[in-house]
Subunit: 359 residues, 4 copies
């Protein structure tokens, strides 16, 4: 059944396989008269692009975005916006091994079980390459949100190593190859990840996304809550195994008097929260505070160490990933996570307007 | 915008407020000729019902379910099944305080910000009372899943206290008031929760849901993955702040060689996983292993300790919850979590069949 | 698969069988702070109610509507509005004949073919009784539309007999038992329908719905056009076999120069159409003119003349409808058609607002 | 709000403007392991392509379809199928007149009213060029339906001229430039349409689509009925103003005893209808008979005769269409109508399977 679309009022649909001729998406429901060109999208793709440091896969593609519809004389028209990126790095190679064997930890076996056929070239549809289109769609979502709403992400954990939250500096995020907000931690991580890469291993990660400027009142309870849509959105990203909002799992260890964010009347006469354990969402509706979401990415299963598996003929065998791999796929998940949060917020912004809210 | 439905092929819609005349739901898309009566649903409601031990709120309602449509001569007909529970414990009382003040940690303020009006009686629509209808709908989902698929839940953390997973015993779950699979832990928790209740405080919790017998091949990538739908489903439950699948956030701390579940050919000639770090889902599609999801519930904000807040007139004030409250709302979230997982699985089972899969 | 909901931003879901304990619906997505009570809905139900003249079925039910949720202190709250009508006229009778035989022209056989089970009592789910809930939901849609948008319907054909459009008088519509806008025609129809009823026969009808005050800009091309949603909406009504917009099928016989509605600048400086062949919709978007839709209702198949059919055991047999029947079901389809048009317009009004339109 | 998708289980989304770089669509939910290549799609596009006789617009484009995803080694994989056609005939020309004026009978003014911006080049998004992608998607739908289900269309009226239904010959349909099943009528139409074209005028048309081999049991009552989805689908086609099923509007003029299709047990022991006034649908569910739908296409408003209109500056003015035009756009609507019916049937086939039906 159809399942490659996300969003209700602002909806996007992606298509394409890792080693097919192209990948693309259709963004439907974008309001008209928003200035938009490829130059608004390309920088976000460049942030996600592999091969920018020794810490990410060396697949090198320019990932040049093209807008094929929905924009006229530099503005959106309200009609669907088609985006496409041609795949260029389709190096001809022998797929024999991954064609016949299931890579542990990958979707190889489940696509086979579900569909009875799979495009094994580079993971086919299940490749993280698909996330490039989320980033592209996310760039359009940011235009819908406007400049008052800002969505930023950071890597807050790499494998066993967390950050010092007291040292959080948004300006540091783009100053290291990890999107790490703690420059000191980033220095340590560089050495650590070199060792991991050389060992042919990989590390997991935790990413935190913070959206500032989100107006109060976004989210449609009970089943289209803002946080449940965020959870769904982030969980669709490759390799994600957990999602939390605000204090998240840590909230389970608190007592009620420590968890509830108290209120006072602020200097402007409006209610003001004294804390944000809730991560900006109460009852599925945004409070006007920062929306804070976090997600966990497992270590990639594409590692150089041979692993036990089976082949299509029903034999036990071993497999090891050759060539390019990401020692920490979580790094490149940062711009993807930002995009997904922006896409959820844009959808809910339009939904709230439909209800008559002035947001 | 409409947001009170969940599911695609198998969909349910709930309605009703805590202190309105009734709550209800409509289950649409249920296959025909499934034997169904109120007796199939009532036991699940009875498990969720408050007032069954001193550890849950003392609101006492029989929560008697009625089927108003969609069943004929003891079988489903394929038409919508309407379920209703009349609210009986609508004790007349003075709502003055919660009518005029926003309870911290509750949805009072966000409903007000979004809608400009709220039914403050018992939390109105945002009350956990709504979850009774999820449990009812979930009982129908279980019938769709059949007896080969079993969905069970357990409380694996109460506040700072975890369980000994080595002592996990499913039979223990219904033998203590916490749905705790570790009987020894449950004994300790009883004393602990008594103290918390007497102190007028509350604790958070973590619930684990395990679905066994799930066939491989459920889940529609990329945006309707089985795990992203589970994440969304569980995050819609009141007070939930985090969701994880399989190893979840712990996976972020692992190395690739430890996380990927290796494969061997089993005794029956079929591929067999040697571990289940993935929680039964790869690439958004079920593997045939147990589906394992966990979610974190914050401590209820309805506590006896006065908390700072503001009132409708823009004044600073204090509030404390009077009367009935749940010292650990996570307990009653166990049957709700089971229901949500069953509902997601039933939806995906029908979706997979639509694609021609024999599941 | 689920299929008992209609609408996207403003959505309703109906449930219930003709002879079950009740019928109901859930209206989801209604904006908050709209004054609403049963008294706003009941008059529309009274218009549709059978047994009001000798020309409609003599089933007598008060069809008393109850609002069970979503309204607080006389205003909508933005949460789902549950409506219910208890079925009172469930006269105990022998269903033996229609239980075992398929009535020609009815859905008896297709429900059986599709579901393998059917609630044969009064047609079960396929009964026109379901349309009472559309009328109720439509009354809420009218409140969303506000008083500037008016949706009215009229019977413009009864069997072979049309009306004199030059004699159209909206005031006449409620002055005869046919909702006929031509009082002279209505007089003739009364005699004609008496004869048809006495002969145990039935007549088809054509209903025209006109919505005035509809702002320009409603409708989401390409697949959620205003007119395609109207066509779908009207075609869901029992016994409807055709739908047309504006000139409809007659447009097929015109030449281009006669069909295109020319434009001039009006007295207010705004574009003004010189005609309305289009029925108020161009390219799926409302023009600001009257929206005009027409639909054809077949003659009911519940007639006194015996008809050839088969029974569940695979035998040829005959069947004739006993007791109450509507000699022209199209009459009661007038308020139902109005309701469906109002529901489509309300949905599109909210959708347009979500896009930022000031409608 | 998003509105460029159609279908639920089998869904397609189109994008693109008449004179943009390309048009395309994404088909999502197609079952896996169906043999598919461009050669399966191209012939249907060739049937729809303009410029094949003097009776259709002389815009000449090869309309070469490309599959960009979802097919691997000649078979569908269950992942989204992206289709694209590059626009080649983007002749550079002066759009000054249609840029500044609204063509009567076109969507120019409503797109302007709704979006405040429009791509005026060739009608932009509202151009019938979009229907090429429906035909392409429809070719995939036919593969889903399999060879036992056949969907064919014919022009049964051109302006004032009907056909002799007794002379209906499916083999004649592809033997004349009108898809007319009555060869004699086609001969007359050729001369008539020459005259119309030379006069710079245009004619409307009625198209009939017949699907044979449709199994009983397709359609999800009450709001996703097979016929209501057909009505919606056909009404989304450019210039369509009416839709009917079976006897359609003519049913309104019948008496009950003439309209209801009687039943007998057939030679194979199964129920058999003695007529098909219903057009193969009862209660929104297919009966197993031919599904018959008809739709009316208005005469194109792009004619050579000057028509009164207004310009963007609020002045009265005149406009006449220059260059290429279709004297009867209904001709090319025949393959489009076939495609839409095939798409609806494929969607409902998968939906029925999801419910457990063996169709």
């Amino acid at each position: 059944m159809a399942g490659n679309s996300f969003g209700t009022a602002f909806r996007f649909t992606t298509w394409g396989e890792s080693h097919g001729p192209a990948i693309g998406c259709v963004v439907d429901g974008c309001p008209p008269r928003i200035p938009l060109s490829e130059a608004d999208i390309q920088p976000f793709l460049d942030r996600r692009r592999p091969g920018q440091s020794r810490h990410t896969t060396q697949r090198r593609e320019p990932d040049r975005i093209r807008i094929l519809s929905g924009v006229f004389e530099g503005q959106t028209t309200g009609t669907p916006i088609a985006l496409v990126i041609e795949n260029q790095d389709q190096r001809s190679k022998d797929y024999g091994e991954i064609a016949a064997k299931f890579r542990p930890g990958h979707a190889d076996i489940t696509y086979w079980q579900k569909y009875g056929i799979r495009d094994y070239r580079g993971g086919g549809r299940s490749s993280a390459r698909e996330t490039a289109m989320r980033v592209a769609a996310g760039a359009i979502a940011r235009k819908v949100l406007g400049s008052a709403i800002r969505v930023r992400g950071a890597l807050v954990r790499m494998g066993p190593h967390g950050i010092n939250r007291a040292a959080w500096d948004w300006d540091a995020v783009d100053g290291n190859p990890f999107f790490c907000p703690d420059a000191t931690a980033a220095d340590r991580w560089a050495a650590e990840l070199d060792a991991i890469r050389k060992a042919g291993s990989s590390l997991g990660a935790v990413i935190e996304i913070v959206a500032t400027g989100v107006p109060a009142g976004l989210g449609e309870p009970i089943y289209d809550k803002l946080d449940s849509d965020l959870a769904r959105a982030l969980m669709t990203i490759n390799a994600v195994k957990g999602v939390e909002i605000g204090d998240g799992f840590a909230a389970a260890t608190l007592r009620g008097e420590d968890n509830a964010d108290e209120l006072r009347i602020g200097a402007d006469g409006q209610p003001e929260f004294l804390a944000n354990h809730a991560g900006g969402v109460l009852g599925g509706i945004s409070t006007g505070q920062d929306v804070v979401a976090r997600f966990a990415v497992k270590p990639t299963s594409s590692i150089l160490t041979p692993r036990q598996t089976v082949d299509l003929d029903g034999n036990d065998t071993d497999i090891r990933t050759k060539g390019r791999h990401d020692p920490c796929v979580g790094i490149r998940a940062v711009p993807v996570g930002e995009a997904m949060v922006a896409l959820v917020l844009a959808d809910h912004l339009l939904r709230a307007r439909g209800l008559g809210q002035t947001v």
